[in-house]
Amino acid sequence: MKTTTMLRDWAQWASVLLAVLLAVLLPVSFAGFSVPAALAAPTELTNVSYDPTRELYEQYNAAFRKFWKNKTGADITIVQSHGGSGKQARAVIEGNQADVVTLALAYDISAIAKAGLIKKSWQKDFPSNSSPYTSTIVFLVRKGNPKNLKTWGDLAKDGVGVITPNPKTSGGARWNYLAAWAWAHREYKGDEKAVLDFIGKLFRNVLVLDTGARGSTNTFVRNGQGDVLLAWENEAYLAIAEHKNDFEIVTPDLSILAEPPVAVVDAVVDKRGSREIAKAYLDYLYSDEGQRLAGKNHYRPSNPKIAAEFAAVFDLKVKLITIDDPLFGGWEKAQTRHFTDGGIFDKIYTR
């Protein structure tokens, strides 16, 4: 009697196990069918990018497809992915198979390099620090600039509502913060205490701290929160294009030079055999057509000749400080000092 119940016990457990196994294996078997198709020929290229480049790459991909078709006769598909720059880098490290990454910060691509997917010297692979286009941080204000916001100093005044994403999660927000820091450093002649005080005041004026640049733009433009949005120049122009009569751009006299870099993900292209096309894809960003598309989408072309064509759009005279300036000492240093847990940002924002 006892043995039969035990036997039945086992049979029941076995059927439960079988159900669980089936639940796990069924989706896995799907994988078996879907993968070889993608592997068969590298006619597909995946570009993992960050939030504000959606419109740029939509146009650029069409241009590149045409260029590639003329050159090789082959049709290719380009799969785009957009999101917060840091989050996108994380996804690539965790296995999102990008052939190329086009992110907001060298720091994020370096993180992928550290994980062993991209070679350490990646930033020398393409011209201008592998940044085919640059951008800077400007103020987007409501039409007529009712609060008369002209310089960074105006943003820390009482009663000004500032919208910026969170520097802890958003690449763009770090540039906002550092541009403000650079201005204050010049204004207070390097007095660290005064700089901290100013940054603290500025961030206490922040009404909504979204996780990404696009979220902040929506908060300011769509939901009507705040008096000023700290934004990428290209995001600001895009908002103006959408709502011509509601906003204007104020370029402060000093801002920061953002160099969003690009890289081929070595581990992925070597596995897929897509290195040639991935390299061609990024190279073409530096062509006259690629540069003009960048300019049209309100990124500053890295080629000065093409940039000059857009002199009417961009304030090319604004003083731009780079992240490699001794004030910041490069991304690694700036990141550790300002944005890691327990860094300066944490201290001023909780205060």
């Binding site: 029941q12 069924l26 799907f30 078996g32 879907s34 993968v35 799969v79 999102n96």
Partner: protein, 274 residues
Amino acid sequence: MRKEVWIPCLLIAVSVLFVGVMLVLPLVVVLTEAFSSGLNAFLRAVTDPYTIKAMRLTLTATVAAVLINTLFGLTAAWAVTRFSFRGKGILSTLIDIPFAVSPVIAGLVFILIFGRISPLHPFLDALDIKIVFAEPGIILATVFVTFPFVARELIPMLEARGTDEEQAAALMGAGFVTIFRRVTFPHIRWALLYSVILCAARAIGEFGAVSVVSGHLRGKTNTLPLHVEILYSEYQFTAAFAVSAILAAAAVLILTARNIVEHLAHKEDDFNVR
């Protein structure tokens, strides 16, 4: 005495107001926004190749979730209510995990198990099996969040029925298949259908877990809810709301199906009693 008239009136007013603000108003907003740029803009958004691909993926994930969870739910409910075995309590508790765990965490767990940093990765890579940041990951995440629906619906049902009828059938010599087909299944079929509908509703709308494992590859790993977010982020508000309208329509259809099932089940119960 007269005062008490006010109580139901007040309760009804509060409920109607709440339902109006929380449910009807958003639905109206979605529909007006969806058609705010005219019918053509709506149709263009709905027939966009990326929208269609997202629709297909959502459908695949929903069908897979429903099939797998029906199978699992039936097995588990049968096992838990019809037999006693060691660990039964644990099993029936474990079924509820997806209700208790945040979907985001579920997604992250799948990334840790199947992602590049997982110890499993060299093995999966050698076999060229992609799970996270690909379709299987989406299916897996959807199955996970909809996992308890069928079992949770069937277990109380089977428990209330007791095992008398099955035992009688067994004594009369019926086998497992016959008992299930002729005795158990007729009792639970409405509950089963009902739970399948709920499971499908949840699968179609799932955002959190899927968002984490998706990688947001446009046209490849975007489900309808993820596609709505992308369109919204791209300033394509009309398109975003048009795709939302598809989801809303699916929800309305599902609710209708649910009510029909409920109605039919009641009718049958009445008939049985008579």
